[in-house]
């Protein structure tokens, strides 16, 4: 690699990092507690607790849960019902002022399957504030896309950093930390060591973060293409005035997707379905298949299945990217490792900033010491 090439790549590494530094620090700092959001919500009392379902007492039907949710939110309509794999005793109801109301206006409430009583709000408290800062900085889609852009710069910084690794470390054994050199050199060694060892994790978390920032765009594309194709025969039909029995809808959806369980049910008119259909999103029971949802469309009036399809590859990528971003797919030990790697990333970003400042300060001094020589 020529000196000129190294200089260009160094500039790419330097400026892609510097431009995104503040936002990457924001993402790392807000992402750290979000890794443990389930645990923190429980500690702070923001996680609804399910009542035990007694074997002889039976479970509430889906219709009963829906009625309880509407009674709990007078004047609102149901957008979705969701079944959390980690909380089998609860159903989460999304109510909003309209079926196509914006996600930020939705109110999420958990209801007990045991007796339809409200178990409490979902997704509130300090973790919601951190999540909003982490995903869109409270400015909606524009914020998501902007942070996605910062994620792309992060990926460019990682790749250019990898290219620079060889020219900068070829005279050193792997893992060298030069204690006897200057502070700047020692921090360069830490920067290189942590950066290169956490390379794959950083690419995966950065890449999945970028994919997640495009979630709304992906959903819009799916609605305009695959979903539009599935519901084309029903184009122009109004939203049903009388909806089918939700229990019948869920039963039919399960029959259409054997060996799968329902993850969430979208009501007619919501962004996840047509104005005339329910959409049941089914999940498998394996670690991977539980992430890959399969939509089943059901007639809003009769509850009959009208179509089922695999999700397109970009939505599968989106669903798989979510656990890979938050590290919540292999228990508490992985969360702790994820948190340490997050802290390592903060060290890499901070040391990179320090190295740039130190180099900028050093440059005039060296230029003064060696006239005519480039610093």
């Amino acid at each position: 690699m020529t000196a000129g090439t190294v200089r260009i790549i160094r500039l790419v590494h330097q400026w892609s990092s510097l431009i995104s530094t503040v936002f990457l620090l924001l993402l790392c700092l807000t992402g750290l507690p979000l890794i443990f959001h389930h645990e923190i919500d429980e500690w702070l009392g923001y996680a609804p607790q399910a009542k035990p379902v007694l074997e002889r007492g039976g479970k509430a039907t889906v219709n009963e849960i829906a009625r309880a949710a509407l009674a709990h939110a007078p004047g609102k309509v149901l957008q979705y019902l969701a079944w959390d794999r980690d909380a089998p005793g609860l159903v989460i109801a999304y109510t909003n002022h309209a079926v196509d109301g914006p996600p930020d206006d939705a109110v999420l409430t958990a209801f007990n399957i045991a007796d339809t009583s409200a178990a409490g709000p979902v997704g509130t408290g300090p973790m919601l504030i951190l999540l909003k800062l982490h995903t869109d900085m409270y400015v909606g889609l524009a914020g998501k896309l902007y942070l996605g852009g910062m994620g792309l710069l992060f990926l460019i910084a990682i790749v250019s950093g990898v290219v620079l690794y060889w020219p900068f470390t070829r005279r050193l054994d792997f893992g060298s930390l030069r204690r006897n050199a200057s502070r700047r050199v020692l921090w360069l060694d830490w920067h290189n060591l942590i950066g290169i060892t956490t390379l794959v994790w950083a690419i995966v978390v950065g890449g999945t973060g970028v994919i997640n920032s495009w979630a709304e765009l992906m959903l819009m594309r799916w609605q305009a293409t695959e979903l539009a194709g599935m519901v084309a025969p029903y184009a122009g039909m109004p939203r049903p005035s009388q909806l089918a029995s939700l229990d019948q809808v869920v039963t039919n959806a399960r029959a259409a997707a054997p060996a799968m369980e329902i993850a969430f049910l979208a009501f007619p008119g919501t962004p996840f379905t047509s104005s005339h259909h329910f959409a049941a999103f089914m999940r498998g029971d394996q670690p991977l298949t539980s992430r890959l949802l399969k939509p089943v469309l059901l007639d809003g009036v009769t509850g009959e299945v009208t179509g089922a399809a695999e999700l397109p590859i970009y939505l599968k990528a989106l669903f798989v990217s979510q656990p890979l971003h938050f590290g919540d797919y292999a228990g508490l030990p992985l969360k702790i490792i994820w948190a340490v790697l997050d802290l390592f990333t903060i060290v890499v970003i901070g040391s990179g900033l320090y190295l740039w400042i130190a180099r900028t300060r050093r440059r005039p001094q060296r230029a003064a010491m060696v006239p005519g020589r480039r610093a």
Partner: protein, 65 residues
């Protein structure tokens, strides 16, 4: 480390460990999806390997100071 100052490390010595760590991390990241409970343990080991390596070199050279 105690190496003679004039010895130059081999290419494999410089880029081999990062490549091995990259492969171990990648396997760890997907193991939990593909291999169930055993995969979870592999996931902890694979994703945790960079943490262990950084800790090893950091402690060996006297910590973060």
């Amino acid at each position: 480390m105690n190496r003679p100052p004039q010895r130059k490390p081999s290419v494999a010595g410089v880029v081999g460990p990062p490549l091995a760590l990259a492969a171990i991390s990648a396997i760890g990241l997907v193991a939990a999806f593909a291999l169930g409970p055993i995969g979870e343990v592999l996931c902890w080991l694979g994703v945790g390997a960079p943490v262990a390596v950084v800790a090893w070199f950091g402690l060996r050279s006297g910590g973060l100071r």
